[in-house]
Assembly symmetry: C2
Homo-oligomer: 488 residues x 2
């Protein structure tokens, strides 16, 4: 149990010796990742300030340094030239002003005049623990030095909205700067608010983004609006959505609306239905950026609020997803791993497999951290699937039910339990037959891209260290597949 005092203890109060001993505990954790962005210690959550700036991809993330809890938040900074190797730039925005004294909360980045503008939510609480959110600006120069503007640019929520007013996403529109901010109406429903500014300094509240979801959860976090393939896309993370069949199984959701481009004058957004971005166990608060190749790249938080994780006992929690390129196909947002990730590939093995009413391993095919691509050539089994990070006792299982075109990820036997109050299975149905399964497996996570990104399952798993086996199975029939696997 962490006291409020412990959760609001600042990094600056820790001695170097304390930091070193916290790191030592983290380093002893068997679940540290190898190719995912993870905090050096403490808890990470939302990715923030994604941008390509000054020759680098920049990723910041929400960070409480001194333990695996949601304490007072900093921005931590990583940068990369290739989206694969990340250099650790250390703490970036600190909660050191009155207006952000209880956390430098999530926000976004925009390049302007050779500097990177970071717009974020200052979270302040008073002695009665009442929350005062504001939207603030910090500016990073090309040396990586960050200076905050003296006062918030948006000092409080507009009338009619509660103190849940956060996560500005800023962009440059035709007529000036635009920002979209997650909010809660006074009737306790979630929405997003539009602001505009000629200079990033003076912001005008324009009104709500007019969606056809007036009563969809009690809060919308981390909104991200962008245009792609001639459509308008709103990604956000609503809280308070009820479970429906295979959908909305996690504590909080993360998904998107696709529609026409938003008319900023009327603020109208005509869109289709809300779809989940990910069908796995651990995915929240994604953010996007555009890179010089014109790619729209998404990175999510591979974690969820209010859930304990097995790494807590080693003083850290969570990681980010691999970067994924977005596109739109058939009214759906498609995520594919950025091609730069191929740089991670080491020893390759490629086999053709025929599996028939059996479960079997393939000689030489095993591992704890790997990329694996399965191409289904012919399928007449009722079910087929893959077990991975397995040993005699434990396994994570992906099963395809051919008749229902339904995929099921089962982590009931993965290893150490996590979030079991929200179930141990996640499932979704495909529009078409299964063709490809593409896995990225790290020490304590799996990201599974189905049919080149039509669906994605992103999940933490906490397997046993010798859980290296990979097995394939087919029931009531057979399957022919090509399997390519690269050690990472």
């Amino acid at each position: 149990m962490w006291t409020r005092e412990q959760r609001y203890r600042r990094l600056e109060e820790a001695t170097p010796e304390e930091i070193a001993s916290l790191l030592e505990i983290v380093h002893a954790c068997p679940f540290r990742q190898t190719f995912h962005i993870q905090p050096p210690m403490g808890l990470m959550n939302d990715p923030n300030g994604l941008a390509y700036f000054d020759g680098y991809y920049h990723v910041f993330y929400q960070w409480f340094p001194l333990g695996p809890v949601h304490g007072v938040k900093y921005w931590y900074h990583m940068k990369s030239t290739d989206l694969v190797t990340w250099s650790d730039e250390g703490p970036a925005i600190r909660p050191d002003q009155d207006f952000d004294s209880h956390g430098a909360y999530s926000g976004s980045a925009l390049e302007r005049d050779g500097e990177l503008y970071l717009m974020y939510t200052g979270n302040k609480r008073d002695e009665n623990w009442l929350r005062y959110p504001s939207q603030c600006i910090a500016v990073m120069n090309q040396s990586g030095e960050i200076s905050k503007w003296q006062d918030p640019v948006i000092s409080k929520p507009p009338n009619g909205y509660t103190e849940h007013f956060r996560d500005p996403k800023v962009w440059k529109g035709d007529a000036g700067f635009c920002a979209i901010i997650g909010a809660q109406r006074e009737n306790l429903t979630g929405t997003v608010l539009l602001y505009s500014s000629p200079d990033m300094e003076t912001w005008k509240f324009d009104g709500e983004l007019e969606t056809s979801l007036p009563n969809f959860g009690y809060m919308w976090e981390c909104p991200d609006y962008f245009e792609l393939d001639n459509s308008g896309v709103l990604i956000f993370s609503p809280q308070g959505i009820e479970t429906k069949d295979d959908e909305f199984q996690n504590i909080y959701q993360s998904g998107y609306l696709i529609g026409n481009k938003v008319n900023l004058a009327s603020r109208e957004f005509h869109h289709g239905e809300f779809k989940e971005l990910d069908r796995g166990f651990d995915f929240y608060a994604p953010q996007t950026m555009v890179d010089p190749h014109g790619r729209k790249i998404l990175i999510g938080w591979m974690g969820l609020p209010e859930i304990d994780y097995p790494t807590d006992k080693n003083g850290w929690a969570h990681c980010l997803t691999i970067p994924r390129e977005l596109s739109i196909q058939n009214g759906k947002l498609i995520q594919t791993p950025v091609e730069e990730l191929q740089a991670l590939r080491k020893q390759k093995i490629k086999v053709q497999a025929h599996i028939e009413n059996e479960i079997k391993s393939i000689e030489g095919l095993a591992g704890t951290t790997f990329e694996m691509k399965i191409k289904v050539a012919r399928l007449d089994a009722a079910e087929f699937g893959i077990e991975f990070r397995a040993n005699d006792r434990k396994k994570t299982v992906l099963t395809y039910e051919a008749k229902r075109k339904r995929l099921l990820l089962d982590r009931s036997l993965s290893g150490e339990d996590v979030g079991i109050e929200y179930g141990t299975g996640r499932a979704c149905s495909l529009d078409s037959e299964i063709v490809t399964v593409h896995l990225f497996v790290d020490v304590s996570s799996v990201e599974i891209f189905i049919n080149d990104g039509e669906e994605v399952f992103t999940s933490r798993i906490f397997p046993e260290e010798d859980g290296q086996d990979i097995r394939f199975f087919a029931n009531h029939g057979s399957v022919d597949m090509t399997v390519e696997k690269w050690a990472i």
Copy 2:
């Protein structure tokens, strides 16, 4: 060679991993002390803000975290209930404001209304590297939280003085608050300036303290004025004093004037001659505090500016002296180790020794960290002395020349060299015969109190790890002594 950029790199820019790896290098150093305050990493210099407050002794010190160089300075905080065991309170004042952007330089502490007021020098440089000093206030509450006042209380040096204007020592006088500040006149001579204030906020420049040393070095650092045994005492650290016989051998000096109590109206100080506080190799910038027992306690920096030390290669430098109680005897400031240090004493050995035209060890008497008290009962040798931290090759030697009543500390063979451009011997003459020699030896230092504090030799030494031998010698005669030694 450290670049300006490296020296002005902030702790806040370092990642936790970098801090841990810096600490690892420090921990591998064979010269880490066991009972002296030393920095966790980086460079320490002046003790700051000495105070007894809220049930604790507080010691802050000047600190550059990221290497063994004089970079951008922080205040680091240690506290103790007994002056022996110190708890590490971490970084305290950070150079995070415009007015202290290039260092939170030295200063002092004063309790007021249940809070500890820290008055310090804000050091700022502009793009042309011109220096702008100011005097600033930070306030620490009983939870150890420190908040800075928004603006310096003394924004610049008065007319007639250069930018060398620093190290405020503040106290509460009969008519209000007083501060004494180290300064340099425009004719490039050193002095100290008096300021007064009704409220710590508005300060009036009263003028110089009128001493009889109008031309004594080019700068006076770290002034400390206090009254003791009905006298006025001014301790300061003048720079630019020339060597004279055995005196003023170090690069910079540290000493005191004793006189009448200063008349704050006339600012006149009638005093005797300037005397060095310490006769060893490494002592500078001491500061004092009064404790609830009425004791005046002094702690110094066991180091000197502009000298390289063997620990530099392990990423740290310097320590503080043990706390010493001050008294005045025969117009001289007497320093004795505070009695609480007896808590450090472990195994004791006590022997009577007769040494005659020989050098000899005493069975069971050896060690690397220890306290040793020698009482001379009878002496008819021309010279006698002690070798310690010795092995077959190395030794540190204290020799007493009976005829001249002169003591000589020789570190030419101590171990790794340090500051040899300023010589390898330090000496002083006593007013009376030698009676007691009291040593505190740590892994890489020795503090020697002669005749119950009449003279003190404070020095870093960097011996070989197996240098544990202790030997006594007498030439041209004999000496009878009682030796008490405690392992620490």
